[in-house]
Symmetry: C2
Subunit: 406 residues, 2 copies
């Protein structure tokens, strides 16, 4: 069993790096705060006797030797970056529970056959740099390291520059480090476990995700003198498009979701009819066919609005992540570990993207979910109980032991 | 007659202060560029023998003595600040035509009975600091000087600080300087004169304006895991409100307009359902009763949307400017001046707010409009012909002579 109280203390301790007055965390990837929590994590791992290395995209790997060093390590972990309005658990739980697994094994004097490794993946959130989960995607070979290093944030800073700024551009080639199996513990970020009174979600896979960049080009004009019918108002076009996206997601209910998370009037002014609006779209469904259908509907809506309002709507897909099934054997190991501990479980599909979804393409992978309050995440009020966090860490520990000693 | 070629040359010369690659001007009030064009204007006025003073809100007054110094000056002018996507004529034409009137009278050796004064009012546009036309409103006694000095821009800088930063917080008390009559030449900023082939608009008054600040408070949540029906999406609420505002304006067609010119998601992220959106509303109509009706409809729409979407919509009126009738005698003087020059004229109501609309509360006032291309303003492509600008300057000169020698 893991030490739930110690795990909880580390969650509270690291929440200070980027902590917000509302009790959340604002720790965008590769920010100064991210640099500080990485330093903390490296020191904590080294104090636990682990050997820490960093790859060219900043991902941290902390290794605990096994009896059989010819075996690939059983890896687990998640991410320490957060959303601008992030909570204390999203990602953090998986990394710190991984550290707790190492500490508990040390305390109990337990050796494993395969080595163990806890990982902190760079930029899981995708808020500062798109796409999300980019370091694990590069690890799995979906992007080259150079492609990722060249991505820019809204201020024009590249991933390479941001890594250098906090001293986390490591020497190790991305993907070079062998992983035998990967297990990620995470809060569910949705309402299902809580509603059904289950402690552990045995995650069978992740849904598909599409991200788009949008740009509406209308025409700036005077708010007081331009008759309503003559306007080419980019914000009204966005408004119609946002409501169309909501209707399209609802038409694929209950599984589909669509979100305009960013929208910015360029050169805004109270008395200027908005001429240009840049925006983003996030669309998800567990079915690849539903993604196709929703993309077609979104493009149709954009065309219809653009024609009627005499303006241009450009919609560029910048990322598509297919739905991902996890490895049945690893899923079964999670299930057995949870059963052996007597937890109420449920099979579940992840609504959020996770580094595990990328790892799955290269390594046998599964995930463990624990409930969070009201299913709320990406919000400063995100909350999970010490008991559920400890239960998740226990299941992680037992799963890892099974895999490493099998 | 004014020297149209010289006027045109000064329009092009000053367009360099804040000039944009697209041929417009981005010269927000009290910016460094505004400071530079003010310096240019002061020097040009002094070179024309005028005495320039600055009041506590930065407004520049350039006086030409008359034969009878006991008479209050006949004043004319407009503003040199622009929108972020402003053109070369909005405001600029009225100030530089005023300078041209002074230069032409000098060249012709003409003295007037009453003194003449050209004025450059601070912050007409209202883009950086709300409300628009704030210096002329303070001149007319609608606000105290201290109220205006304390207004803040989006970066939190006060008008007082911005004035000090460019050295334009003058010694003269606002409203202290006497004005006997005020005439403002401006581009129409709307499509009517051009459509009807008229050169001169004889402006009878300005329509009413209401400005609101809005804040929608929903709930940030995860874009991938929050089911559509559970969301409290502030951007979708704004979208419905923006479309409601459009419908409400159209219901008061053809005179009414409504515009959401600014809208900002707070802490935006691609994979976060927007929790808070701040926005502005600009509503106008020549009828005070229509303003009342539209405000009521907007508040009803906000309440309905907020209830249905389970969020809060706060709508704060930060400015209301009643419809303004101009002085019949000054309007008649403009009409006679235009007639005497043989120009095709039309009576017209201003869709835009102007400093003249504030002056009208204190001083006999009227305005002269000239056409602009396609009625476009608050856009970098704003355009007026040298011929129409010269015609406007001629009518201003003849109106001013009539008033000053009457
Ligand atoms: N787990 C998580 O919130 N990941 C962020 C990527 C996404 O799903 O949008
Ligand atoms: N003339 C002009 O564009 N004034 C700005 C104030 C307004 O009407 O919005």
């Amino acid at each position: 069993r893991a030490d739930g109280a110690r795990l909880w203390a580390t969650i509270l301790e690291t929440a200070a790096f980027g902590g917000t007055p509302a009790g959340g965390i604002n720790r965008l990837t590769l920010s100064a705060e991210d640099g500080r929590v990485r330093d903390w994590f490296r020191e904590a791992c080294e104090a636990a006797g682990l050997t820490v290395s960093v790859d060219a995209l900043g991902t941290q790997y902390a290794l605990r030797p096994g009896r059989d060093m010819s075996r690939k390590p059983v890896a687990f972990g998640s991410h320490l970056d957060t959303q601008p309005t992030g909570g204390k658990f999203d990602g953090v739980l998986g990394v710190l529970a991984g550290l707790e697994v190492m500490r508990s094994l040390n305390d109990a004097g337990i050796e494993t056959d395969a080595p163990l490794m806890v990982v902190n993946w760079t930029n899981e959130e995708g808020s500062r740099f798109a796409p999300a989960m980019m370091a694990s995607a590069a690890y799995a070979g979906e992007f080259t390291t150079d492609e990722i290093l060249a991505k820019r944030d809204a201020a024009g800073i590249t991933v390479a520059e941001a890594l250098d700024a906090i001293g986390y551009r490591g020497a190790e080639a991305v993907g070079a480090r062998a992983i035998g199996a990967f297990v990620e513990l995470h809060i569910e970020q949705g309402p299902i476990l809580e509603a059904e009174g289950k402690t552990i979600g045995v995650v069978e896979g992740g849904q598909g995700i599409m991200w788009f960049d949008g740009l509406i080009t209308g025409f700036e004009s005077h708010a007081g003198t331009t008759p309503m019918p003559r306007r080419r108002d980019a914000l009204l076009a966005l408004s119609e498009f946002a409501l169309a996206a909501e209707r399209i997601a609802l038409a694929h209910a209950p599984s589909a979701v669509a979100t305009i998370g960013e929208a910015q009037i360029l050169a805004p002014s109270r008395n200027v009819v908005p001429g240009r609006v840049a925006f983003t779209v996030d669309v998800r469904d567990p079915r690849s066919s539903a993604l196709d259908a929703m993309e077609a509907s979104l493009r149709e809506a954009a065309t219809e609005i653009a024609e009627r309002r005499r303006l241009e709507i450009a919609l560029t897909q910048i990322w598509r992540k297919e739905p991902v099934p996890f490895d049945p054997a690893i899923v079964a190991a999670v299930d057995q570990a949870a059963e052996s501990l007597g937890h109420a479980t449920r099979r579940i599909i992840s609504g959020a993207g996770h580094d595990a979804c990328n790892l799955a393409a290269k390594v046998p992978t599964a995930m463990i979910f624990v409930p969070c309050k009201d299913g709320v995440s990406h919000n400063e009020s995100e909350s999970a109980t010490p008991g559920d966090c400890a239960a998740g860490a226990d299941v992680l520990l037992q799963t890892v032991l099974r895999l490493a000693n099998a």
